[in-house]
Amino acid sequence: MFGLNNDYCAIDLPETYHPQSDYTKGIARWCPGCGDHSVLHAVQRLCAEKQLPPEKTVFVSGIGCSSRFPHYMDTYGFHGLHGRAFPVAEGVKFRRPDLHVFVVTGDGDCCSIGAGHWLHAIRYNMNLTVLLFDNQIYGMTKKQTSPTSPMGTISNTHPEGSVLPPVNPIQTTLGVSNVSFVAQTVDWVPSHLYATIKAAYEHQGFSFVKISMRCPKFMADFAKQKVSERDTVQLLMHENGIQPDESTERMFTHHVQHDPTDINAARTLAEDPSMTYLGLFYQNKQALRYDLYGAHNLGYTPEQKMAAIERKLEAFAV
């Protein structure tokens, strides 16, 4: 809707092929078995598949174990402040439509301290790929209750068990106006994880992916239980949804047809306490995009700018 003037900064086509290793930097410092490793691999694979120019790719995160993510990507990265990944990513994208911007955030980062920005980020619907690493606990600060911790979770701030029903990130996101893409996956099924992140990247808008993460360090039982529980998982199936591969389909035998344009059905699924649904809950390709607004008057020359200022100055002449 906002005519996009993009000629100031031509998208340059990759001259060289980037193997997956081109996106890898250092050794990831997460605990062994931490779900974050899986997502890192999936994302590196996606970058290679899409041949994203590393210099045109930016990972923005907050603070937390998960938010260390950008340090392990050999792209540009912004490891900012706790809870504030969204505004930074929006600022990056606003006048740089040529950049591929990913947001990596944790359940505390996004749903607790970052909740206000989260809500507004959904509404802005800028073209960002958002990965919520939901391990249901504060990892980095060593086991405090997270808003997504199941009630009764024993943590250092609630040694007798947490006392509030958890925030449901999918449900909350679906409740915000201008929502455009909501999906759920888990770190321990690589192919589904990959398919989901890829679909999110391909969506033009704010693609919100909640990834159920294992934190073997502080939620060991929970991590084990989640991985083993296959009966309470259902795959969301639809031609416009995320296409699980055969192995995923074999792993999870419960499938449910769900049309990702049906927001009411999506909500009902999101709120089903007995089941975890994997796949695309909702997509609206028509939702208004604020990044298009941000980019609509890019690339003016100094002369054009000066002429405009000059015109405006005249109104202040005496």
């Binding site: 540009y76 930074v88 950049l99 405009a308």
Partner: protein, 631 residues
Amino acid sequence: MENLTDTLVKPAPNKTGKQVISRHIVEIVADSGEGAQKAGTSFASMSAKMGNGVWTVEIIPSDIEPPPRTIQSTSGIRIRIGSKEITNAGDEADLVVAFNEVCPYSRIEQHAFKPGTKILIESAWAQHDDPTVKESYEKAIADFKNRGYVVYEIPMAEECLKLVPDPKRGKNMWVLGMLCYIYMRDLNIAEDQIRHTFRKKSQAVVDSNINLLHAGHAWAAENLDFQFEIPSIPSEKELVVMNGNEAFAFGAMAAGVEVCSMYPITPATSVSHMLAEAFEKAGGLVHQAEDEIAAIGFAIGSSYSGKTALTVTSGPGLALKTEFIGLSVMAEVPLLIIDVQRGGPSTGMPTKIEQGDLLAVLYGAAGDAPKIVIAPSTIEECFQFTIVARQIADAFRTPVFLLSDSNLATGVQPFVKPKLKAEWMAPPIDQSPWKEGVTPFAWDEETGLSKRPIPGQKGGEFTLTGLTHNTKGQVSYLPEVNQKSTEMRSRKIAAFSRTLKPPKVYGDEEGDLLLVGWGSTRGAIEEAVERARELGGKVSSVHLRFLSPFEPGLKDIFKRFKKVMTVEINYSDDPNAPLITEENRRYSQLAWILRARTLVDIDCFSNVHGQPLKPRNILERIKQELSELVN
């Protein structure tokens, strides 16, 4: 040392009682909606056009739409005009036009009048149907006289009614006509002004207002026994007239800034209003974020990606930005922050004047977070310093603060129309490949400076972090790395300080008393110093534009005076108050840091009245200090 008043009264040269004066202060006060401000700004513009110095400041009701004829509903304008440049709002008003008898009280509360102030007041209330109104009017007139004001009861509505059916709509132009007579303004220019003001209205409206103008003028010529002449030399140069917030907006555009990310807050918001109006065509956009944290985060994101951005705020918003300011220092992201200070602490007095954020800006963020802080002292400097600040931010890879206040934000002053220059503009984003082998924080050992890779630069890939990092940008908690990186960020400030020159002393280079000021108070301080010097006082002043780092040479300057005293609009303990001793007295903010910097025993003269400083009050304090220094 007697003559404290602004008015140089000369004997009336003719029967009309015409006096030639060098400066005068006019106020027009009315209920909001009666057009007092329109009359005032028209009068100010005309005066500027005729070559007078002008300073105007709006009188704004504290509530949005308070009931009429209450103190709270007073809306209006103060216009100070003079033969030479006018740099501040001055002392008490010389002449006041009041549309009713209640609104002067809102000004009396603020100590805006003095014995001898002429009050030209709408007399219609004397015949009002409601006896309580009548009574209120009569009591007020008696009270005004009692206070020594010179009251002129003027049948404004009655006279307007001869021309228009509803005097409420038009009285202001009649008043403008009256003022044109009193101050001998050129009626042709006045007509032009009306045509300009009502250019979007019908010809009938324009004509009607021009008629009212002439009627007001004629009535005054007929009925008033005084007239003032303020000699002027019309300027050769093209002038613009605007307030400090508008000047910031123009400065940002002229600097090539493309993103202003903000959250509304009085008195800073109007910077973004101005931008919102003009920015789109000048290749920029205002982002109204969900809160101040998001606003600065967004700005930092934009700066990081190559478009050094601006955020504007005031006290409470500044508080919320504290954490991101620390990140911007730590990760060396350039950023422009305009803080238009307001009365504090906390929500305080949002529409009032205070210079209370200096320490918060300098020291708000935890850890060692040095930054560059600049305070413009005139409206023109609001424009110019924004351009400079953008350049510094980019060159030194640092946040730069511009500290303003309501005095500049709402004060209006003409200045020479700037000639825009292409080199003021931020260059296009560098997308050339990053130089191999250069790290993202390749600090120059001596200056701490380094060049930053911008997303899109091949080979420059790095992860910015607020954690301690080495030259490669990698997280490290090694003692040496933290020491070194902290040192490098501090060194940039030292390097910048070496580019500064000592400030100029206003007045003699040595003497008895030196006043030190910063920000919006320059005009008032220098005017007071000038008056004191005319009276023979050995007083000078120095005005600091750079608060971090300081300009050099301060201690040398201070040492040439017997006493040094800052003049600020913020809080300091009265040394004579109960329980206050030299050991616990809390000083004004600039005084405090100058003491630490120079070890000179710097005193301070300050208040938190929320008002512009009156030159007269400063002058009185100068006199008191000088007499104590002599004794």
